[in-house]
């Protein structure tokens, strides 16, 4: 079972309740329930609403995953669960349930790092990951650049956002433009009819003075404010707001910074593989620009399909499967939900 462990993964770090089942690198089931509609009118994820939804969704989502994979809990070799980072109350529902499954079925449990799971999921689609690799994780909750030396042992953070996450910037700008929530897909769509070069929005932390301290960090708060100012100035002047041009120019600013820093991270670390994950990885412009720029340096870009980029249970199962195959010791039943879990631990030590 070491080579092809059957692992079940539970993910509840934000607003998606996910249960995935993998055997080795093969995805057998990926069941998902989302509370995104319940958050729409608040313009962002409301933690208590998400926690309530997780509790309601967990048992039925688990059942769908087991049915889809055609296995029972007695068949699995291990249960993996996102221990952090994420929303504390939401994580706790998944962790408590995972412990219930593990102790009732008498299976080992692995509390795993959500960000490392975003990287691991790519192996379900593209096979073993060449190491070292650079991973860029961009979503409503995170914007990180990581150096992946060994996915089962440790991941080195290179940089992260110092204010808003990339996906959060999409949400805020979409709200500003009256486009609804979540903002990523709708801005991607409206941007198609706009000119990305029409408005020069700022590129955060890319000035020469930022190289020393923030070479691989991101900042999207200034960009969001710049868009708000630009739109408001138009409105005050009584002029129509060219939504397509604003969307395209905003999106270009985000994607330009993300890809420039990701490629810089690869080149400066002598790494030939870039993995992109998180909900923003589904952005069409980000993919095109990353591939264009990577090709110039002979870097291979790996982006899992959109359903695997956003939060899901399969990514947790995929990382769990790596840990079991590598002989990493399971976590203990008192493993915590750790909303600020550091990347230095890929799983909670036993």
């Amino acid at each position: 079972m070491r080579d092809e462990p059957l692992v079940l993964g539970i993910e509840t770090s934000c607003d998606e309740t996910g249960v995935g089942i993998v055997r080795g690198h093969t995805l057998l089931a990926d069941a998902l329930a989302s509370s995104v509609d319940q958050h729409a009118r608040f313009g962002g994820v409301v933690p208590e609403v998400a926690s309530r939804a997780h509790l309601e969704a967990l048992v039925p989502t688990m059942q769908r995953a087991l049915d889809e994979a055609g296995v029972t809990l007695a068949d699995v070799d291990a249960i993996a669960v996102t221990s952090g980072p994420g929303l504390a109350g939401a994580l706790l529902v998944g962790v408590a349930a995972a412990k219930g499954y593990a102790l009732a079925a008498e299976k080992p449990i692995y509390g795993v790092n959500h960000l490392a799971a975003h990287v691991a999921v790519d192996t379900l689609e593209h096979g073993p990951l060449p190491e070292p690799a650079v991973a860029m994780l961009v979503s409503g909750g995170h914007s990180s650049l990581l150096l992946v030396d060994d996915l089962t042992a440790g991941v080195t953070p290179l940089g992260a956002t110092i204010d808003d996450a990339a996906g959060e910037a999409f949400d805020k700008v979409a709200r500003l433009l009256g486009l609804g929530f979540p903002g990523g897909p709708v801005i991607d769509r409206t941007a198609r009819d706009g000119d990305p070069g029409s408005i020069a929005f700022p590129r955060g932390l890319t000035a020469p003075k930022d190289q020393a301290k923030h070479r691989f960090d991101f900042s999207f708060s200034g960009l969001k404010t710049a868009v708000a100012r630009w739109v408001e100035a138009r409105e005050r002047a009584g002029e129509p707001v060219p939504i397509a041009h604003v969307s395209a120019s905003f999106q270009e600013a985000v994607c330009d910074v993300l890809t420039a820093k990701a490629i810089d991270a690869c080149v400066s670390n002598g790494v030939g593989t870039l993995v992109i994950g998180g909900g923003v990885a589904a952005n069409s412009r980000l993919r095109v620009l990353a591939e264009e720029r990577a090709a110039r340096h002979g870097i291979v870009v790996r982006v899992p399909r959109p359903q695997l980029c956003t939060d899901n249970g399969a990514m947790v199962a995929a990382l769990g499967s790596h840990l079991v195959a590598a002989g990493v010791a399971p976590s203990r039943l008192d493993l915590p939900a750790d909303s600020a879990m550091s990347l230095t631990s890929v799983s909670v030590p036993g």
């Binding site: 208590e48 509790l55 504390a88 529902v93 219930g100 102790l103 079925a105 500003l176």
Partner: protein
């Protein structure tokens, strides 16, 4: 029939094993930790410990009874998620009972006020006559609770004892496992259908819809 009782509606995480027979109830073992922030970490090890102590394995369980609250949400959900997942994994029914009812039942004869800490200077409360609930459960500021009882129990009653002006049963601060199971004994004996464990929230999520845009130009 071996029944597992779980409750995380108060600062206590409780895991208890109770034997239910055709005409009686026998407490087998009980583990409890009092730490309002540690339900997520303490409860599962308590369950394995209580089973091991009594020489049973999870597969020996016939049913699970869980306290539905009311109680602080985050901790409360730990007990319910654990109970629901164990029930699903073992293919056994889960039954929900009001956590305050367990305290009311354990308080025995007479009129009793049960109050637990709801944080934000409020209590979850209910009143019982000879173990049967007469009012509540509800959430209120201690001073706004209409007191019509001879005694009080629950950690909220202890915390706000001076407001209620009632003698407090200090041995009865957290829902006892045997009382939780007693409240579901008929359902257990009849092998009633499994229940979805929905918390008694009594409060809506704090969330406000965004107002209009704030201007950024000055």
């Amino acid at each position: 029939m071996l029944v597992l009782a779980l409750d995380t509606a108060t600062p206590a995480s409780t895991a208890a094993l109770v034997e239910v027979t055709a005409d009686g109830l026998f407490g087998v073992a009980e583990n409890r930790t009092v730490d309002p922030r540690a339900h997520g970490e303490k409860l599962a090890p308590e369950i394995t410990a209580v089973l091991a102590e009594a020489g049973f394995r999870p597969r020996d369980l016939t049913a699970i009874v869980a306290g539905l609250g009311p109680g602080p949400f985050t901790g409360l959900r730990v007990g319910l998620a654990t109970a629901a997942s164990m029930g699903q994994a073992l293919g056994i029914p889960t039954y929900g009972v009001c956590s305050l009812d367990a305290l009311g039942r354990a308080a025995g004869p007479g009129r009793v006020l049960i109050a637990t800490d709801a944080r934000r200077r409020e209590v979850y409360h209910a009143t019982y006559a000879d173990g049967v609930r007469e009012t509540g459960p509800d959430v209120a500021k201690p001073a706004d609770v209409a007191v019509n009882a001879d005694k009080a129990a629950g950690e909220g009653a202890l915390k706000y004892g001076d407001v209620f002006g009632l003698p407090v049963e200090e041995h009865l601060l957290y829902p006892p496992g045997a009382a939780l199971v007693a409240l579901a004994a008929d359902r257990i004996r009849e092998a009633a259908p499994s229940e979805i464990l929905t918390p008694l929230y009594l409060r809506r999520p704090d969330a406000v819809e965004p107002a209009g845009r704030k201007p950024v130009l000055t």
